[in-house]
Symmetry: C2
Subunit: 189 residues, 2 copies
DNA sequence: GTCTATAGAGTGATAGAC
DNA sequence: GTCTATCACTCTATAGAC
């Protein structure tokens, strides 16, 4: 038979955008079906657990992207400053300079939080931990590094909220510029 | 007829909590009816525009609270530092030290943003503007004051998201403590 | 026949409008 | 309370690949 369905990776990307735009409650199966071009049969074939499993898979997919493109470089760069610089570039790219919101952050505020609390806590916890380690390796005292890491991740989340609220992308790029400076990185070209 | 309904102020407070806990989509009229003790008939009597009007009224109600308890003190305090200190206390109290999320911030991330974009932009815009003015009056250069104000409001939003994600209230109080320091206020007792 | 992927009618529950 | 629309979801049927 013909294979119309995109592979799982593409599929999760499309479903993620529906959740991102409409929230967990607002993302109806009708919308998801429309966006993916799949009928309910196919959707339930891929995700027997229904909408909840779709969301779980989407969160895991995003988490995996950050693991590969943000957390791992923070952990593995021999030069911690380079890892932190990489984090800012990847973050700016991922959120399309403020055009995109953080789906996991949005889920954290929603009632859907209870369903996905573990995944949400893990994602942010790992981000802060990897950044704190990199900051410690680049010379900050451990306690200070932890606070600075927490502050940085919170600032990114807040900037996404504010950029969206003000409908002004500059809010996000200004925030990233300030954070780069505070973390001792050279101003970006 | 018997008057079971609380007055409009109380009513809006109750409806606000339902939106806060469940989001715009997730807050069903059944939930709202249950929380308020009002039937659908009464709800449509108070809010002929239905759920959308309820949300609009709730946002306006919250905005009014911040106007009175945060924005006005920032504008009117003869000592700008006192106004800023007052802002932190009111903010900490309002968000119950991180137990409560910012409904308007949550709406900003949701699809409901399109419905309430004007109100959302106004709220955050006024907060940042009043804070920037107070910072300018307390000695910061105007451009610096603007950036610092934006950074502060974003940090508060981000801390609320993170506190909720980590299920750890300390995230919020640590953020407020750092912000107080950065804005030149004495550490809180 | 078996497996995977598909479409979509049909389920009861519940949504918001009135 | 009544209305209709839509919700998440189930189920049956069907396709071609093996």
């Amino acid at each position: 038979m013909r294979r119309i369905a995109p592979d799982r990776d593409q599929l999760l990307g499309i479903v993620a955008e529906v959740f991102r735009e409409h929230g967990y409650e607002g993302a109806s199966l009708a919308l998801i079906g429309e966006a993916t071009g799949l009928g309910k049969g196919s959707l339930y074939h891929f995700f027997p657990g229904g909408k909840e499993e779709m969301a779980r898979a989407v969160i895991a997919h995003i988490d995996g992207w950050f693991e590969d493109n943000v957390f791992a470089p923070l952990r593995d760069s021999t030069d911690p400053q380079a890892g932190i610089g990489h984090m800012f570039e990847a973050t700016d790219g991922y959120f399309r300079s403020g055009r995109r919101v953080c789906l996991i952050g949005a889920f954290a505020l929603d009632e859907s939080r209870d369903l996905f609390a573990g995944q949400i806590r893990d994602y942010f916890g790992r981000w802060i931990m990897r950044l704190a380690e990199a900051l410690a390796r680049s010379g900050h005292r451990p306690g200070e590094a932890s606070e600075l890491a927490e502050e940085t991740v919170a600032a990114i989340q807040g900037a996404l909220t504010l950029a969206r609220a003000a409908n002004d992308l500059d809010v996000f790029s200004r925030a990233l510029r300030r954070l780069r400076m505070r973390l001792g990185l050279p101003a970006k070209i």
